[in-house]
């Protein structure tokens, strides 16, 4: 237990540069996890109601911008 803690301490905290890098990388990872997680929750709550879920009903043949040319909405 104490050996493991010591390893973590020397690996991440001992040198300030490493410690700061860990903090920033951790912040970045936290943001990504948080964003994609909350998006997943949102999508699962609103399943079947968003444009990307019903797009295939209205844009049958891929490509050919027939009626409304641009479809770059939601998110």
């Amino acid at each position: 237990m104490s050996g493991l803690l010591n390893t973590i301490y020397t690996a991440f905290v001992r040198r300030n540069a490493v410690f700061l890098t860990t903090i920033f990388v951790g912040a970045f990872a936290t943001e990504m996890v948080f964003d994609s997680g909350s998006n997943l929750i949102w999508d699962s709550i609103n399943r079947g109601r968003q444009w990307k879920d019903i797009k295939h009903k209205y844009m049958s043949n891929g490509g050919g911008g027939d009626d409304e040319g641009d479809d770059d909405d939601d998110e």
Partner: protein
């Protein structure tokens, strides 16, 4: 150091130490009197303080005593506590960094153009609808844009012109991306009128307001306009399609 001098110093030291209790008792006396003067002072009335810097029950000060902090010592290991502290510092620092980054990002995103503005900022033109030798005027960002499908003769005429002698010298290849397609902002560089196509002395455009003449490359040739007609940003993403903006 001689023996008598040593004796005197020890005696002096002793005397110095002896003086302390006397001082202390007088101070206590003063305190006592104060207490008697104000019997309703609740803050000092029942206060009892045992200094940790005393050995045993004796009342004299002993500075060599180190108080026992055992009661306050952590029972877990030093590394674990240190790691916990650094973890808390690091994670709250990370959260702060996230907040700061998002604040800055929100301000920057706020400044950039919104989606509806961006959607209006581009215009698609179907080039197959424009026959050779014809002009088309398109509205783009509230201004007219001239698109001319130039014939081979017109291209040759525009390229053979001695452009170095013009008022705003510019070769034709700097003004077009594909020589058969001339795309220009239809705003006269003099005072902002819209020139008339296929008119004027040079086979290009003519501004009716003050009589500026532009040639088939949109360069000013005659009249008060100081500059050539402006070229907007445009691109050919695929054959027969042009995007302005």
């Amino acid at each position: 150091m001689s023996l008598p001098s040593k004796a005197t110093t020890s005696l002096l030291r002793h005397a110095g130490r002896q003086q302390l209790p006397a001082l202390r008792s007088s101070a206590a006396l003063v305190q006592k009197r104060n207490r008697a003067d104000s019997p309703f002072d609740a803050s000092t009335s029942h206060a009892e303080f045992t200094s940790p810097f005393h050995r045993g029950t004796r009342n004299e000060q002993d500075t060599t005593v180190i108080p026992n902090w055992g009661k306050y010592r952590s029972s877990s290991s030093e590394t674990g506590n240190k790691l916990f502290q650094y973890f808390m510092v690091g994670s709250f620092g990370g959260l702060t960094a996230l907040g700061a980054k998002n604040t800055v990002q929100d301000f920057l995103v706020n400044m950039s153009a919104s989606a509806d503005v961006l959607a209006q900022a581009k215009v698609e033109v179907d080039l197959s609808q424009i026959p050779e030798g014809k002009n088309v005027i398109i509205k783009w960002r509230g201004k007219p844009v001239f698109v001319r499908h130039r014939t081979a003769d017109e291209i040759k005429e525009a390229e053979d012109e001695d452009w170095k002698k013009l008022r705003d010298p510019q070769p034709d290849e700097d003004r077009v991306k594909k020589p058969e397609w001339l795309v220009m902002l239809g705003v006269c560089t003099h005072l902002g009128c819209v020139p008339i196509g296929e008119a004027g002395d040079y086979g290009g455009w003519f501004c009716p307001c003050h009589g500026s003449h532009y040639d088939i490359s949109g360069r000013v040739r005659k009249g008060p306009a100081p500059l050539n007609l402006e070229i907007p940003e445009y691109d050919f993403p695929e054959d027969g399609l042009m995007v302005i903006g």
